[in-house]
């Protein structure tokens, strides 16, 4: 590669780039490669993939636009950026769908070859926006990406239609030049990924180099930019998506508990990647079963849990609906298992590829009868790893099903993660029952499957194969202690109360909520789940304006951390931002009689830091 000395090199502390194109254009791949090379380079990064539910929506239409936004920075960042500084639009539809987000003065790079009549019509442009005043507020670079790609790849002998498919690598090459990314990691990756098909591999290599060299030699661009590595804590880093971190967290939980993992799932967006990832790790003894439906997946892990495995099922909202009945059974059986809900826009099929936090109350209450279970939520992509371990710890210690919430944004976006020392992870102790636990009337020792631990209220976990502990459990109400079927009214009330007390008692065993404390703050922003990054960024901005604002973020949603009530009462104003119509807010108001204000958004997109910032400023100044 040529160097960049003939162009000016300007330093930036951060930049937000959005790649947008048709869903067949490979924008997710392009974004993913740019992310990885930036992470390897040492930038802090945050990403926001955004793609349609259709695998191949009609080409060139607005419905088919797929985008990937990445924020790269030389300092710590927590969001993928409110708005792009640079928009790469591969066709008119991508331009139309995304230009509204590009602030005036932003940089727009378009594939000018695609701005012909047919594509303009599909995007409902009456006139070519490159030829009128539509884009005058932006710095526009018109690059003939398709034709340059076809020219550059002519030597591999592909038909133009095939050659054109490498144009996303041309775009990647061009942006890699603009932001002085090292080229080797991408060239190596193309070689590895496409090595089996030499023609495609060579076409992609040539297209990438052509894009890079185009930036270098074309007089179009006056300068390249440099975003220096961020200063992170020392350690070894890798770039993880939430779904990968979740899968690794489950593997880790199995290792820490010395229990085999049994995952049964039914394919569903945006959770399937966890099934895919875990299916690779059979050498860890991880069993994965693609069940015939969501209900069977839940049923299978109840069976596996009865047999002494750590049962896990992964799904999204529609699957949680279907598994509700089985979760009720698991609550009654008091068996440990995990239901991981990667939330998406609802109700019904809703917005399968888009994010939302609207399953909190479903997780809390979506079962018939008094059926409480612990609920946790992951805050960032990398946090999914730790959240999975914590959810498993609670499930195993208290012999209860646990719901762990993630969402489409966490699932697919990524961040650099300082890989922990495996030795530093907590051991999870799982004592299976080994002998009878109750004195019978005639002095014979008996096994009572519902005789509880006085401290945790957990019942013993006696697995088949253990002689002398044979017992029957089921969904009918059980007599306290013996576990025999009982229709006694007072016993039923007692069992309902003890199941609730067991879950409530977990509060003693979880970390107090920590407040990122601004001394003398009168306003607390309380969040949960994937809004962590946007809230942190929004709070920072208000502090930069001299406002005293505190932030707290919940991982444990049922039970709440033991000090939550006390924390909430410390502040005159409490703001709760959520990607729903105020679900945590309802819980907090009901539990603590705190007049919390809800900030809601249900556009199936994460909060922008600016939205949090504005809401705080408005509220604090009232």
């Amino acid at each position: 590669m040529t160097d960049t000395t003939q162009h000016a090199l300007r330093e930036l502390d951060r930049v937000v780039i959005r790649f947008a194109g048709d869903s067949g254009d490979g924008m997710q791949l392009t974004g993913d490669r740019f992310t990885n090379v930036s992470a390897l380079f040492g930038n802090d990064i945050a990403t926001l993939p955004d793609f349609p539910a259709e695998i191949r929506a009609p080409a060139g239409t607005l419905a088919g636009v797929s985008a990937f936004q990445i924020h790269i920075s030389d300092h710590e960042i927590s969001t993928p950026g409110d708005a792009p500084n640079v928009l790469v639009a591969m066709n008119p539809a991508a331009l139309k769908a995304n230009i509204g987000d590009l602030p005036r003065g932003g940089t727009l790079i378009v594939n000018v070859d695609s701005f012909e009549d047919r594509n303009l019509a599909k995007a409902a442009y009456a006139e070519n926006p490159l030829h009128d005043d539509t884009l005058k507020a932006y710095t526009v670079y018109e690059v003939p990406m398709t034709s340059l790609t076809i020219q550059a790849t002519s030597e591999v002998g592909a038909k133009p239609r095939d050659a054109e498919r490498s144009k996303n690598f041309f775009a990647l090459g061009l942006i890699s030049w603009m932001y002085t990314r090292p080229t080797e990691p991408t060239l190596d990756w193309i070689t590895q990924r496409f090595g089996k098909n030499e023609q495609v591999m060579n076409a992609n290599l040539l297209a990438f180099k052509a894009g890079y060299n185009f930036g270098e030699t074309a007089e179009l661009f006056e300068s390249a930019y440099e975003v220096k590595p961020a200063t992170h804590l020392p350690g070894t880093y890798t770039n993880v998506t939430g779904n990968t971190a979740m899968a690794w967290g489950l593997v880790a939980a199995g290792q820490l508990a010395k229990l085999p993992i049994f995952l049964a799932s039914y394919p569903i967006t945006p959770a399937s990647d966890i099934l895919h990832e875990l299916s690779k790790h059979k050498n860890f003894g991880v069993r994965t079963m693609q069940a015939e439906d969501e209900i069977a997946a839940a049923g299978a892990i109840v069976g596996a849990a009865f047999g002494g495995h750590l049962g896990v099922t992964t799904t999204s909202g529609p699957g949680v609906d279907l598994k509700s009945e089985t979760m009720g059974l698991a609550i009654s059986l008091e068996l440990p298992l995990l239901l991981i809900d990667i939330q998406r826009g609802g109700p019904s099929t809703g917005l399968p590829t888009k994010t939302e936090q609207s399953d909190l109350l479903l997780a809390m209450f979506g079962r018939h009868g008094e059926a409480p279970l612990p609920v946790l939520a992951a805050s960032t992509p990398a946090h999914c790893f730790y959240a999975a371990i914590e959810a498993a710890r609670i499930a195993l210690k208290y012999r209860t099903p646990v719901i762990l919430l993630s969402d489409g944004y966490l699932a697919n976006s990524s961040e650099p993660w300082r890989i922990p020392d495996v030795e530093s992870l907590p051991a999870i102790d799982v004592p299976f029952a080994g002998e009878p636990n109750h004195d019978g009337p005639d002095g014979v020792r008996l096994f009572w499957p519902y005789q509880r631990d006085a401290d945790t209220l957990a019942r013993p976990w006696a697995i088949p194969g253990t002689a002398g502990l044979e017992h029957r459990i089921g969904g009918l109400e059980k007599e306290d202690g013996t576990g025999n079927v009982s229709y006694d009214p007072v016993n039923h009330e007692k069992m309902v109360e003890v199941r609730a007390a067991k879950v409530a008692g977990i509060a003693k065993d979880i970390s107090p909520v920590e407040v990122d404390h601004e001394d003398g703050a009168e306003l607390l922003v309380l969040g949960w789940g994937s809004t962590y990054g946007a809230i942190a960024a929004g709070v920072q901005r208000t502090r930069a304006r001299g406002k005293k604002v505190a932030q707290a973020h919940l991982v444990h949603l049922n039970p709440f951390p033991p000090n939550l009530g006390e924390v909430l009462r410390r502040y005159r104003k409490v703001l709760i931002p959520e990607l729903n119509l105020g679900q945590l807010s309802k819980l907090v108001r009901a539990d603590f009689l705190v007049d919390a204000r809800s900030l809601t958004k249900v556009q199936a997109q994460p909060f922008k830091a600016a939205e949090i910032e504005h809401a705080i400023l408005e509220f604090i100044d009232e």
């Binding site: 992470a39 390897l40 040492g42 992170h232 020392p234 350690g235 070894t236 880093y237 890798t238 770039n239 990968t244 690794w248 593997v251 880790a252 290792q255 049994f262 049964a264 790790h281 059979k282 050498n283 860890f284 003894g285 069993r287 079963m289 069940a291 015939e292 439906d293 209900i295 069977a296 839940a298 049923g299 299978a300 109840v302 069976g303 596996a304 009865f306 047999g307 002494g308 495995h309 049962g311 009945e325 089985t326 059974l329 059986l333 890989i419 922990p420 495996v422 088949p464 194969g465 002689a467 002398g468 044979e470 017992h471 029957r472 459990i473 089921g474 969904g475 009918l476 025999n484 079927v485």
Partner: protein
């Protein structure tokens, strides 16, 4: 799993201390007795035996067996049992279900457990009625059945459970009935010893809501004329002196004939091990219901790798190929960089 070291047991060892609460005269009692009598003969251990059920009268079964057991949710027993059987291949897992449980609400789980060939022994108590909900028609009730929910007669075409199991790629399919303990015990033994998904339909009398549903074929005096015993390697004959038999007619259909008219050599010889299930399927269609001569015994018993073994094999193979999993290596398996 059979275990040569299993200590000798008696029927009493397999009976739990719970009071059996089926209606007096229910066919379920004789099935329970047959199974409790069979267990000591199977050379298995109580602690390695698990009964899993769904919901319904039959589903109370696990409470009465002194083994591990789970009374699950309606229709889901095959799913729950699948998870247990594939995660714990060392266990003997039985599923006890009814016609509503297995064929209506749980139809999907039943067919998928069978096609996967999960190592389960599935006992379907077919009484052609909903008992626990007090007498609605079931997916095996005959067309025209008058019940509380069908005062003018059911208009639903029933399932033939044997045909369904064969269509679902089951590797072991059999039928028995609650009036013949010896036949039940022998059929259950075969089903238990089969490696893979074994499906047994049991004609079971519900004396409260559907009394006598199978009487035309299972009453002692009716059996010789109305039950067609299927025995591997033997001509399919029934009736006094085996006067009647099953042949394939010119169109390749199974048909009941007088043996004297067609000649003994024309009688179909039962081959339960035929790889191709078509003939077993035809046998399952010989009777339109339990009012015509009906085959009982083992329709099909073929070997196919079980789902649990195949899954286990992949685990062992992965560990041999790449060694046991190491968490540190996994966490460093993506592109990494040092700071």
């Amino acid at each position: 799993m059979s275990d040569t070291a299993a200590p000798p047991t008696t029927k009493k060892d397999w009976s739990s201390d719970q009071e059996v609460r089926w209606c007096p005269g229910c066919g379920d009692y004789s099935i329970l007795t047959a199974l409790q009598m069979l267990m000591p003969e199977l050379n298995v251990r109580r602690e390695n035996t698990v009964f899993v059920s769904g919901i319904g009268c039959a589903a109370r079964f696990p409470y009465y067996m002194n083994t591990y057991g789970m009374h699950g949710i309606h229709g889901r027993a095959p799913a729950i049992a699948s998870g247990l059987a594939v995660s714990r291949p060392d266990l003997d897992v039985w599923v006890v279900t009814g016609d509503g449980d297995a064929l209506s609400i749980g139809g999907n789980h039943l067919i998928h457990a069978l096609r996967r060939n999960v190592n389960l022994t599935i006992l379907l108590f077919n009484n052609q009625i909903y008992g626990l909900t007090k007498g609605q028609y079931s997916p095996t009730s005959e067309v025209g059945k008058v019940t509380k929910s069908t005062p003018f007669g059911s208009v639903d075409q029933p399932f033939n459970p044997i045909s369904l199991a064969l269509g679902a790629e089951a590797t072991f399919v059999a039928r028995t009935h609650d009036m013949d303990r010896k036949h039940m015990m022998e059929t259950f033994r075969r089903a238990h010893d089969h490696k893979g998904g074994a499906f047994v339909e049991i004609y079971q009398n519900c004396n409260v809501f559907n009394d006598g549903a199978f009487e035309q074929v299972t009453a002692r005096e009716a059996r010789p004329q109305m039950l067609i015993p299927l025995e591997h390697g033997k001509p399919i004959r029934f009736g006094p002196d085996g006067a009647r038999g099953v042949v394939l007619d010119g169109q390749g259909r199974a048909k009941i004939v007088d043996v004297a008219e067609v000649g003994e050599d024309k009688v179909l010889v039962h081959d339960e091990q035929r790889d191709e299930p078509g003939l077993a399927f035809m046998l399952s269609r010989l009777a339109r219901g339990p009012f015509e001569p009906t085959p009982i015994g083992v329709f099909r018993a073929v070997d196919r790798p079980t789902y649990g073994d195949a899954m286990q094999h992949q685990l062992v193979d992965a560990q041999e190929r790449i060694g046991p999993g190491d968490l540190t290596t996994l966490l460093h398996s993506g592109a990494t960089w040092e700071v």
